[in-house]
């Protein structure tokens, strides 16, 4: 008995510390445990890109996607957005596997500019000319034997007459790019961009130049043919040089874009969600207000209906909410509008276990000859199978919801599922300790009035039946 009461006091003290932690980490400006809000509440952009991997074979996709992610990450970082997120996601729900890139930009001001930075990156491709090679020869120069190709601009080349090499040589294999002057023969001050391929790219380039000597190799930037030199000989150095009648500024920009990472595969936006910061803030505040008002109303109802156990339930509910906040802060769980809704719903349902127990205790009080401790214990053990089964079915639902949700709606499943789990555990530990602590041992009329208004006491019950 004394032990239970000490435990109850300890739980209350722990609750106060939880509350202090939750409060302090929210008000302190540089706490790392602040609750994180999703883009729909804090404002920002959520972009889903789909990568076109049709030109790649199975083994190349994963490395290409991870290069893509790194490249986009570099660009996103250049935007100066705080805590951006770039992640690869694959989905195969419609049968074929699709490769996506999710980009989250919290608090971004100009989404159009951001999308430009991300999406309009140079896509560099090398393609072999097919068909009439005479025309190509007449418009191109030569290849140097020091391992670089040099071209001058071509006259309105027919872009359609080119096809990808096998395997395809793209900007994915470019390790770095440099600006040089005077690469082209004749015009010595012409700016050119020097590409350094990685080992794999150097090998492919070497193969192409060996197998296709005498053919024209088109250099495409973002699908536009910028030059088309004829391969003069086998080149093994792993470097290539692009010249396309660039101005110095153009060449500089091309170098920077290539160094920022030429995209290994083409991407396009397939889904987007942008929320203005003002609207997000309003939604967040309304959600929090709704939660507080809901909590107060539920507390009033519980105390009005269940009296002393009602107060116990409210204390347990308060600790439940603080525990949930602790989990949100520590994991951390990013709260979205749907997540807050799930949390609010869970407040309503969290008291369910308590209600089940109280109703059982009321029933047990109607039976004769048992101490208060037995009554409470019996109420618990009788209520337990219902609590267990009902919560398992809710958990099944939450897990499935999580799997079908998108980033913004999954929040509902997370808070709802966590709420079910935490409320079940808190009901059978915290509520139980509190109830045993306030119940005491003796059965008195006062306790009956406090625990089960309207239910005849066991003793009256005895007198009545005898």
């Amino acid at each position: 008995m004394t032990k239970t009461r000490i435990t109850a006091v300890l739980i209350l003290i722990a609750g106060i510390f939880l509350g202090l932690f939750a409060y302090n980490t929210e008000v302190s400006p540089d706490s790392e445990y602040k609750i994180q809000y999703g883009l729909d509440l804090s404002g920002g952009a959520h972009l889903v890109y789909e990568a076109d991997v049709s030109d790649l074979n199975e083994g190349q996709i994963d490395p290409a996607m991870s290069t893509l992610r790194d490249n986009i990450e570099q660009r996103v970082n250049a935007l100066g957005v705080s805590e951006p997120l770039v992640q690869v996601e694959t989905t195969s729900i419609t049968g074929e596997t699709r490769y996506r890139l999710i980009v989250e930009l919290p608090g971004v001001q100009d989404v159009d500019e951001a999308k430009e930075m991300i999406g309009e990156a140079p896509l560099l491709e090398f393609k072999l000319r097919t068909g009439n090679t005479d025309a190509a020869q007449s418009t191109t120069d030569d290849l140097f034997d020091n391992g670089t190709t040099s071209t001058s601009s071509t006259t309105a080349p027919e872009q359609d007459n080119y096809e990808s090499t096998e395997p395809a040589l793209t900007g994915r294999f470019v390790e770095s790019a440099q600006l040089q002057f005077g690469g082209g023969r004749g015009a010595t001050n012409e700016p050119v961009v020097l590409l350094n391929f990685n080992d794999e790219g150097g090998q492919i380039f070497a193969d192409i130049t060996r197998n296709h000597t005498g053919e024209a190799l088109g250099v495409f930037l973002d699908g536009r043919l910028i030059s088309s030199p004829v391969i003069q000989q086998h080149i093994t150095g792993g470097t290539a040089q692009i010249s396309g009648n660039f101005t110095t500024d153009e060449a500089l920009e091309l170098r920077d874009r290539l160094n920022l990472g030429a995209l290994p595969v083409p991407i396009e936006v397939v889904a987007e969600q942008t929320v203005g910061a003002t609207l997000g803030e309003a939604v967040k505040n309304q959600g929090i207000q709704a939660g507080i008002v809901g909590l107060i109303l539920v507390s009033i109802f519980l105390i009005f209906w269940y009296r002393l156990p009602g107060i116990v339930a409210v204390a347990a509910l308060a600790i439940y909410i603080l525990l949930m906040l602790l989990i949100f802060k520590l994991i951390p769980v990013t709260l979205t509008a749907a997540g807050i809704a799930g949390f609010i719903l869970s407040i309503g349902m969290a008291v369910d276990a308590n209600i089940l127990i109280f109703e059982r205790i009321k029933e047990e009080l109607g039976k004769p000859n048992a101490s208060m401790q037995d009554v409470v214990e019996e109420g618990f053990s009788r209520a337990w199978p219902s609590i267990r089964d009902a919560n398992i079915s809710s958990l099944i639902t939450a897990v499935i919801l999580f799997y079908i949700g998108t980033t913004l709606t999954q929040g509902f499943a997370v808070t709802f599922g966590l709420g079910v789990l935490v409320s079940m555990i808190s009901a059978i530990t915290i509520s139980r300790t509190f109830l045993l602590a306030v119940a005491g041992a003796e059965r008195t009329k006062l306790k009956h009035a406090l625990f089960a208004p309207g239910v005849r006491s066991g003793d009256e019950f005895n007198e009545h039946t005898q």
Binding site: D40, V48, I93, T94, V111, D112, V269, V270, E272, Q273, T274, V275, G276, T278, L279, A282, V283, Q286, G287, Q289, A290, G294, L295, L297, V298, F301, L302, A337, A338, I340, A341, G342, I344, L345, I347, G348, M349, V351, D352, I355, E359, E363, P385, S386, D389, A390, I392, S393, S394, I396, T397, A398, I400, L401, I404, G405, T406, T409, F412, F416
Partner: protein, 338 residues
């Protein structure tokens, strides 16, 4: 209130509600949102008085966007639904809105734009233009609150995952209920408990869906991913309720077997219901309380979500008391006749 005695009445009411719901869904039809069909939603607020709907529609059409629908939102905002918007289309729409918000003639606004773009070149000419144009620029502008765009492939994926999700939840629940009540198969097979729970669940899905069918006509509500999640949460809540009642039946049946009493199955179910009313109703009250708070003050983005849940929780509470248990007794009666 003897639910079991008057089970025919309650089951008839439930049958009528379900039939009426199906009628509403068939008659009004459901309108699916961009989550499933693909498309774009643009929500804007005009800082001054918002232009008329027809002017707004014209501005959208001028930007080369067809099949867009315009609805008012809040005091001075619009929600524009359209097929999947490309970036340049959205930019054009917003540009046209800015002209509308300006309240001045489009021509003058164009002048001011030219002035701002050329301001970087400090020639006396442009400086002059800039000064004159500032006087013509009105204060009103337009704020882009929200823009969501979903491509058709993503839409069809979400449709699939929503369907899979509902099927998985229903299947998961029927299996779990069957498993949880496996030991009480003496009187009624545990599959019956699972199947009866599913009938109650169908009722709980039909009612909010019918509500959305009506709302799609009145306020243009569209079924989105959040609605599907609300439905699934209702399933969870309702089965939760049903399980608590069944659990009591399981316990009382066990007691009857232990004590060797001659209570009929119908009596046992009736007693179990009486014992669990208070809890079902009280839990519903607390849940409805928080949902009402969410609906009334939780803001626009979760308003319909909260409403769906409100209606669903009421339906779920009704079904677990007035459908699941009476139906259980009814099935038992049919089995005994055979």
């Amino acid at each position: 209130m003897n639910v079991i005695k008057y089970k025919k009445i309650f089951l008839s009411i439930a049958g009528f509600i379900m039939a009426a719901s199906i009628f509403c869904i068939a008659y009004f039809g459901l309108s699916f949102g961009i989550d499933f069909t693909g498309g774009s939603i643009l929500e804007v607020t005009f800082t001054d008085e918002r232009p008329s709907i027809s002017a707004t529609e014209q501005a959208i059409a001028d930007a080369g966007v067809t099949d867009a629908s315009v609805r008012t939102t809040g005091e001075d905002g619009y929600i524009i639904r359209s097929p999947f918007l490309e970036d340049d289309q959205r930019t054009r729409v917003m540009d046209n809105f800015r002209l509308l918000a300006d309240g001045t003639e489009a021509k003058e606004s164009n002048v001011s734009q030219v002035a701002t773009t050329t301001e970087t070149e400090p020639s006396s000419e442009t400086a002059e233009t800039a000064t004159t144009s500032t006087s013509t620029v009105a204060t009103g502008t337009v704020i882009e609150n929200r823009f969501s765009s979903i491509g058709p492939t993503v839409g069809s994926e979400l449709t699939r995952s929503a369907i899979y999700g509902i099927l998985a939840v229903v299947l998961g629940i029927i299996l779990f209920v069957t498993f949880a009540f496996r030991k009480v198969s003496e009187v009624v097979s545990s599959w019956v408990y699972g199947s009866v729970a599913i009938v109650a669940l169908i009722h709980d899905i039909l009612v909010p869906t019918a509500l959305f069918a009506i709302l799609s006509v009145t306020i243009g509500a569209q079924i989105d991913l959040l609605f599907v999640m609300a439905l699934l949460a209702i399933l969870g809540f309702s089965v939760n309720d049903t399980i608590v009642v069944f659990d009591r039946i399981r316990e009382n049946l066990q007691d009857a077997i232990d004590d060797d009493t001659n209570d009929s199955f119908a009596d046992t179910v009736g007693i179990s219901l009486t014992q669990t009313y208070a809890r079902s109703i009280n839990t519903s009250i607390t849940t409805l309380t928080v949902l009402a708070a969410l609906y009334l003050i939780g803001g626009q983005s979760t308003e319909l979500f909260a409403l769906t849940l409100l209606v669903g929780v009421v339906a779920g509470t009704y079904s677990s008391i007035f459908i699941a248990s009476p139906l259980l007794v009814k099935v038992h009666e049919w089995q005994q006749k055979e």
